[in-house]
């Protein structure tokens, strides 16, 4: 018996699984840095998040296919498993505070992200918003614990940046003057920083994450950038899109501060901007299809992020991405393809 199918008869070896595996590999440096900086608590939270994300998808598969009585369920499920829920679970864990008191947060967040945001809308590729982002925002508006960020286990190595007086501390960063690991900063403290015009950390500390309080995965920018380079080399994301987002955010923040370029690096290096730009905003499902659409999308994200940070004094990257996710469909239908050899229709004269 011959296999009959439409052309082409050969296909590239790369499948969805490979792409998702590449994303997981790209997240490894950030995960490792998170565990080093925040200790075993971070590792436990990441494990809880991954396990509950995969388990949620498995349970959904059982219910959807009504196969709980059949044998070989696990094998059938594993065959169609495409690692997307692992990516969701890991990303969600990486944007949570490393606080073991909130062990139930990755659990609830993963169930919400995978169960409601992804599977309820039809599974892989059908979700309207990024599951990890939606999970984070769900937790953020549900639990006060989401506003308490432990600082990293390392003291800042750079000098405090006394040149800039943060008038609007959107950064989830704070100094940890008494040494390693004991400082907790809360939203209230951030507000205090803002009002009291306290100095913030040096750019080097923001880049390395030393002494920075923040989510598990967002503090070490170096590790995130290694992941970004890996994604670009493997052709998973287009290299210019995260840079566009980050650049526009930085420049617009500079513009909002009256073109004081001292604000560029702190606003780029603080908060979840780099994690969001490289791993969250570039999620295939929730970005426009066309190149032009992507350019508009990432520029708008940058403007929105810098603008909302200035206006609210909070870390808003996840909210901005969530907002822009809803604009993707509009961008997709607004931009029509212009085929090779497209001739602009001439306006009919005098009519």
């Amino acid at each position: 018996m011959r296999i009959l199918s439409s052309a082409p008869h050969i296909k590239t070896r790369r499948t969805t699984k490979h792409i998702m595996l590449d994303v997981l590999i790209a997240l490894l440096p950030a995960t490792a840095a998170g565990i080093v900086y925040f200790g075993w608590q971070a590792a436990v939270l990441i494990a809880v998040s991954l396990a509950s994300a995969v388990l949620t998808e498995f349970v959904w598969y059982l219910i959807e296919h009504k196969v709980w009585r059949d044998g070989g369920v696990v094998r059938a499920w594993a065959k169609q498993f495409d690692y997307t829920s692992l990516v969701t679970g890991l990303l969600l864990a990486l944007c949570l505070p490393a606080n073991i008191e909130g062990w139930y947060m990755p659990l609830l967040g993963s169930i919400f992200a995978v169960g409601v945001v992804k599977m309820l809308f039809g599974g892989t590729g059908k979700n309207i918003v990024n599951p990890a982002i939606a999970g984070r925002v769900f937790l953020f508006i549900s639990f006060a614990l989401m506003t308490v960020y432990p600082a990293a286990n390392f003291a800042p190595i750079g000098e405090q940046n006394l040149d800039i007086w943060w008038t609007n501390t959107w950064v989830s960063a704070t100094t940890s003057p008494t040494g390693a690991g004991d400082a907790l900063t809360t939203g209230a403290t951030q507000l205090g920083n803002m009002l009291g015009k306290k100095p913030i950390l040096s750019n080097l500390d923001l880049f390395l994450g030393t002494g920075v309080a923040g989510c598990i995965g967002e503090t070490c920018k170096l590790a995130l950038l290694i992941g970004y380079v890996y994604l670009c080399v493997r052709g998973v994301i287009k290299w210019y899109l995260p840079l566009l987002y980050i650049g526009v955010t930085g420049l617009f923040a500079v513009a909002l501060e009256g073109f004081n370029f001292d604000y560029f690096l702190p606003s780029v290096l603080s908060g979840g901007l780099i994690l969001g730009a490289c791993f969250m905003a570039t999620d295939y499902v929730t970005t426009p299809k066309s190149t032009l659409g992507n350019l508009i999308y990432f520029t708008a994200l940058g403007l929105l992020t810098a603008g909302l940070r200035k206006a609210t004094g909070l870390e808003v990257v996840s909210f901005c991405i969530l907002l822009m996710n809803f604009a993707v469909f509009l961008l997709d239908i607004a931009i029509k393809p212009r085929p090779f050899g497209y001739v602009r229709k001439k306006k009919e004269a005098n009519k």
Binding site: R2, L4, I10, T15, K126, Y284, S290, F340, G341
Partner: protein, 428 residues
Amino acid sequence: MIIRPKAFFRGVHPAGHKTPTEQLPPERIPTPAEVAVPLLQHAGKPALPVVEAGQAVKRGECIAVCAGGVSANVHASVAGTVKAIETRPDGRGGEAEYIVITASGEQEDAFLAPLSSPTAEEIMERIREAGIVGMGGAGFPSFIKLAPPVPVDTLILNGAECEPYLTCDDALMRGNCEKIVRGAKYMAKALGVTRILIAVEKNKPQAIARFSETELDVVPLKKQYPMGAEKQLIYCCTGRKVPLGKLPAHTGVIVQNVATAFAVCEAVEEGKPLIERVVTVTGGGIRTPKNLICPVGTPLSLLAEACGGEENAVKLVAGGPMTGAALTGYEAVVTKTTGGFLFLTPAETNTDEPTPCINCAKCASVCPMKLMPMQTEFYTNAKQYENAAKYGGVLACIECGACSYICPARRPLAQAIKTAKEQLRRKP
């Protein structure tokens, strides 16, 4: 002289798989005992048979004539007796009309009179009489293509052969460089143009070296699929873009395959009509891959036999792996446009089931026509063909298959595009 290509386009880079047959000269297959010559081997209408069952025919005798409009003559590819004119399965799941000829085993040729220093009109008439069609795959009758509605200034010979596996044009170019050049000059004379470019992909260095010794200009092209597609080839060689909905001739360029040029040369100098061609038989599922010179109408079973038989092949393909048609069995025959037969093993061909689209836009990023295949597929599955045209740009598709090739979710994008085009064509 070697000319640098002028432009690039998006595309894919599938593995070549050309090594098994790359260095092999074309080998003549033993004369088949019976050939089944299809009446429709070209774009347009089937030719009209002018012979009857039982009639003796010589090799090269015209057995079916051009049906008017877009059509072409068909000639007997072996000397023998017409056994029947009948409808048979064509090996692609459909049926077609064939003139079946039983070979007598004698070498009786009835070629046309050779022409020495022919005029443009004589060349055109000869190309029409010899039933020459575009041998790259589409099979558009050459006498129509060489009479463009607008004046042209360039003739491009397409030796890109961007399809993986196939080496038939390469084999022809290595061995018959001079004949191809002379054929190109005849076509240029018929067209009234002086500029002739020969476009060859860089993975055929021997062919490039041979052509650069002749007086024609060679364009060594980047190895990329679909480099041999007409619009992309014109863009790369001359930097001109074919406007949507217009013919390539509107950019002043006519593209012809190298095998067509070879056939033109033989038709003019020897009076030999288009009755045989080089066919690559390759793939992991055939024991000894070869380039074979086959008379038109040779059954596939004979080709498989000449190549040692099949082994572990699960898929038969007529043509290249990117655009060729899957075959149901050995009913298929060699036609004027067959570049090759592939015997693909399970490891070589794709057997994965489609998974959900993850919207990665890789299909759009490789589309040489800058379309949106994922949009087309989405709207085609919803049976909204108008939207498929509006948001996917499906009508401009050249059906190269690059989108399906690259899709990590294994979605049948090219198939959806063909469906949408078919549905849109049916509507008034």
